[in-house]
């Protein structure tokens, strides 16, 4: 009974933990998906655009009138785009059209174009005229597809098409091409390591290689493997799974986002990473310096106005940070600090919470130690070097980490102290600019986001206890 109860308890905790970590996990998963599938939950066949067959009339319907010369030019571009078994991406088609019309298409125009020209190649729902017009099927073929749907239900996979008679080899691969998307990963399947992983070894491999050499193909789609003799059904299924998972996940987003620039010059995310590191480490170091000095004074020295200054510092904690936006910006502008590192670093260094942490810690150091040091004739500087810094090292580490994390994630201040052409933009600001540019390219954006979180998660994993101690200190003081 108790065992069952603890099991249920763990189950609840696990679900809760998953919910809490879900945004992070989903972000990482998305960052590995093939571009264009980022907002997709499962693999769904792409919506294809019927550019290949679109006529002047249809372009007119989309409010993009083309004259006959332009149509001819478009025709050659289209032939190039559709050469081979490759299906062009939407963006390639749009840029072809942009090249022809010699202007940029607006987002709205693209949307209308997609509506007018796009055909959802769901083979389970198109009717006979559409099949004939869009897929270029003959009447018999279209009827055969219909008959299949009537008798056997929906097509569940491209392989089902094989069950339909009357298909020529060319026709078949043409149909299949609507199911395949990324030729690069198909060619990868033909490489040795993949064959190994599919247990395509020994005699089977010989047969495979022979077949491939005789028929002059490298596998263009998962179904082609079926035509190789001696393959069990499970083998084919496994091959196909590999095929589809290869199509869904990739590392290319990271390559793309790390080398791309949000504004088309030499500024990249890698540069932003350097900026972020400089700003965060700089802020942390300067904060340590000023807080250590001030904390020592407040903990161990008595001077005129101590109470007044301390309560003034505390009172400033009650002011919401947004309030400083305008005047701080004014002061930084006045000091000519826009697009500089110091403008991002210095304003955050008077960290009152940090001062409080250091002061609390130094207060715990016994007076006798200081007295002994002074008796031995140590100067203030020596006291710092041999006494305070070594003894306060734990709290300094905590403060360093807290400041670093805070600055790494600081967005608003770094957004307003950088102009759009700045070379000093930090990661969050750069990412926000990327967001504006790659509005719907979620995979690349999430790759950038994951890249940005790596240091935070790393620090969290190695220094969790220190962080938690620092954050709870002062919050609950009994």
């Amino acid at each position: 009974m108790t065992k069952l109860r603890s099991l249920i308890f763990y189950f609840i905790l696990l679900i809760l933990a998953l919910v809490f970590l879900f945004p992070l996990l989903w972000m990482v998963v998305t960052s590995f998906k093939v571009p264009g599938t980022g907002d997709k939950f499962l693999y769904v066949p792409e919506q294809k655009v019927a550019f290949r067959f679109a006529t002047e009339k249809e372009f007119e319907k989309a409010d993009i009138p083309l004259n006959s010369a332009q149509m001819a030019k478009l025709e050659t571009l289209r032939t190039q785009l559709y050469s081979g078994s490759k299906i062009p991406l939407e963006n390639e088609l749009f840029s072809a059209l942009e090249e022809v019309t010699e202007r940029r298409l607006s987002q709205d125009e693209k949307r209308v174009l997609l509506q007018v020209l796009s055909v959802r190649f769901d083979i389970n729902s198109v009717d006979i005229p559409q099949l004939k017009k869009i897929l270029g099927a003959s009447h018999e073929e279209a009827e055969a597809i219909f008959a299949y749907r009537l008798t056997k239900g929906d097509f569940d996979s491209p392989t089902d098409l094989e069950a339909i008679p009357l298909f020529s080899e060319v026709q078949f691969s043409y149909f299949l091409s609507f199911f395949s998307k990324d030729t690069a990963c198909i060619h990868r399947l033909d490489q040795r390591p993949y064959r190994r992983s599919l247990e395509l070894t020994g005699e089977r491999e010989e047969v495979y290689v022979q077949y491939r050499d005789n028929n002059g193909f490298s596998v263009h789609d998962p179904d082609e493997i079926q035509r190789i003799p001696r393959f069990s059904r499970e083998k084919v299924e496994r091959w196909k799974q590999k095929f589809y998972s290869n199509r869904l996940y990739t590392l290319s987003n990271y390559q793309k986002i790390l080398s791309a620039s949000p504004r088309g010059d030499s500024f990249t995310l890698s540069r932003a990473f350097v900026n972020s590191t400089l700003v965060s480490v700089g802020t942390a170091l300067v904060t340590l310096f000023v807080c250590l000095l001030a904390g020592y004074v407040f903990a161990k020295k008595d001077f005129t106005g101590k109470k007044l200054i301390y309560s003034a510092l505390w009172a400033s904690m009650l002011i919401p940070g947004m309030m400083f936006l305008v005047p701080q910006y004014a002061i930084v502008t006045w000091l000519d600090g826009i697009n500089t590192y110091w403008a991002m670093i210095v304003p955050h260094c008077a960290n009152i919470f940090g001062l409080y942490l250091v002061k609390q810690y130094i207060e715990q150091i016994p007076h006798s130690l200081f007295e002994a040091a002074t008796m031995d004739g140590a100067s203030e500087l020596q006291i710092f070097r041999i006494l305070i810094i070594p003894l306060t090292l734990p709290i300094l580490t905590t403060l360093f980490l807290l400041t670093f994390l805070g600055q790494w994630s600081n967005f608003l201040w770094q957004l307003i102290t950088n102009t759009p052409d700045s070379m000093r933009m930090t990661l969050p600001v750069t990412l926000a600019y990327f967001k504006g540019q790659y509005a719907s390219d979620w995979t690349a954006l999430m790759a950038g986001a994951t890249f940005m979180l790596i240091p935070i998660v790393f620090l969290f994993l190695i220094a969790q206890r220190t962080l938690i101690r620092g954050m709870t200190e002062g919050a609950v003081k009994e």
Binding site: L13, L16, F20, P23, L24, W26, M27, D39, F41, F289, C291, L293, A294, K301, D302, F303, T304, K306, I309, Y310, S311, A312, W314, S316, I319, P320, G321, M322, M323, F324, L325, V326, P327, Q328, Y329, I331, T333, W334, P347, A350, E380, S409, F411, L412, P428, A432, K435, A439, M446, A449, M452, L453, I456, F460, L467, M471, T472, A475, V476, K477
Partner: protein
């Protein structure tokens, strides 16, 4: 060390005080000064504050006639009313769940706490992806399991009535880890004998929670309320990230109190302040900061009456 040591004390203090006065003390005063001036949006960008015109109280008067500002205050209140109780309930629940002998306790604690240290902007983007229409995972799950199709076209953040609650939900999940840590720390300080005494008196678990645990957690709860109010007033990055810097979908005011035709569904005061700021209306933004400051101070004053004064000095 009874004697005063002004010279070296102020020498050591000077770096801190310099930064403090330049970027925290002077701004408070300068902001007040600015709020009496009109700084036009067409000001020379290299000398932004060069041609200010004295405007008297007109910024403040305009502010109280500005429907968008009043609306942003209402929204901030709604936002706070969602996030603060939400965070307290969730974090207290988590703390109570974890406050026992448990294998893997540290692991779960880390899992709940991790979102708290993650970057706000990035988490905002991730939630925008989750909430997105058509292929957003939440939309699909709701559609598939509960046949809810209301979010298919707009997603959560595109729907004026759900945008702010959706953001609040994301922020509750992000912020609860911190509250949990605080609650765990205070729960650890409660002496076992109290519970034992209550059990001998025959109190059940619920009675113990209401009569013993909660009163002892009051300081932590109040602390979370204060920080929650600050977070609501400072709320900017989450709105920026999740609404593409637009302030959310527009909708006609449901109460009829505001004459403005369309109002941003997530334009809380922190975000509106930035909007005004980014239009270059610095004087107006400064006046707005001051109103927000007064709001914050009066709330802090109310809180200080409950919080022990020890904590402030």
């Amino acid at each position: 060390m009874g004697r005063k040591d002004n010279l070296s004390a102020y020498l050591f203090l000077s770096p801190f005080l310099f930064v403090f006065s330049l970027f925290l003390l002077i701004p408070v005063v300068y902001s007040l000064y600015l709020s009496f001036f009109r700084v036009g949006p067409y000001t020379d960008l290299t000398n932004v504050f060069g041609d200010m015109q004295f405007a008297g109280f007109s910024n403040y008067i305009l502010l109280f006639q500005d429907q968008e500002f009043l609306w942003s205050l209402v929204l901030t209140l709604i936002y706070a009313a969602m996030t603060i109780p939400g965070t307290i309930v969730v974090s207290l629940t988590l703390a109570l769940l974890l406050n026992r002998e448990l294998k893997g306790r540290a692991l779960f604690r880390s899992a709940f706490f991790l979102p708290n240290v993650l970057d706000m902007l990035v988490i905002g983007f991730a939630w925008q992806l989750i909430y997105s229409p058509r292929f957003g995972i939440l939309t699909i799950l709701l559609d598939r399991f509960f046949e809810i199709k209301a979010f298919h076209e707009t997603g959560f953040l595109g729907n004026p009535y759900y945008a702010l609650p959706a953001i609040a939900f994301a922020m509750i999940l992000k912020g609860s880890g911190f509250g949990m840590i605080l609650f765990l720390a205070s729960l650890g300080n409660i002496s076992k004998s109290l519970y034992e005494a209550a059990e001998i008196d025959g109190a059940n678990r619920f009675e113990i929670l209401i009569n013993i645990t909660l009163p002892l957690l009051k300081p932590t709860i109040l602390f979370l309320v204060v920080t929650g109010i600050m977070a609501a007033l400072n709320g900017f990055t989450e709105i920026y990230a999740m609404t593409d810097a637009t302030g959310g979908p527009h909708f006609s005011d449901p109460t009829g109190l505001f004459s403005h035709e369309t109002l941003g569904a997530t334009k809380i005061s922190g975000f509106y302040l930035w909007k005004v700021f980014s239009f270059g209306k610095y004087g107006y933004a400064a006046a707005m900061s001051y109103i927000l400051l007064l709001v914050a101070l009066s709330i802090s004053y109310l809180n200080a009456r409950w919080l022990s004064p020890k904590e402030l000095a």
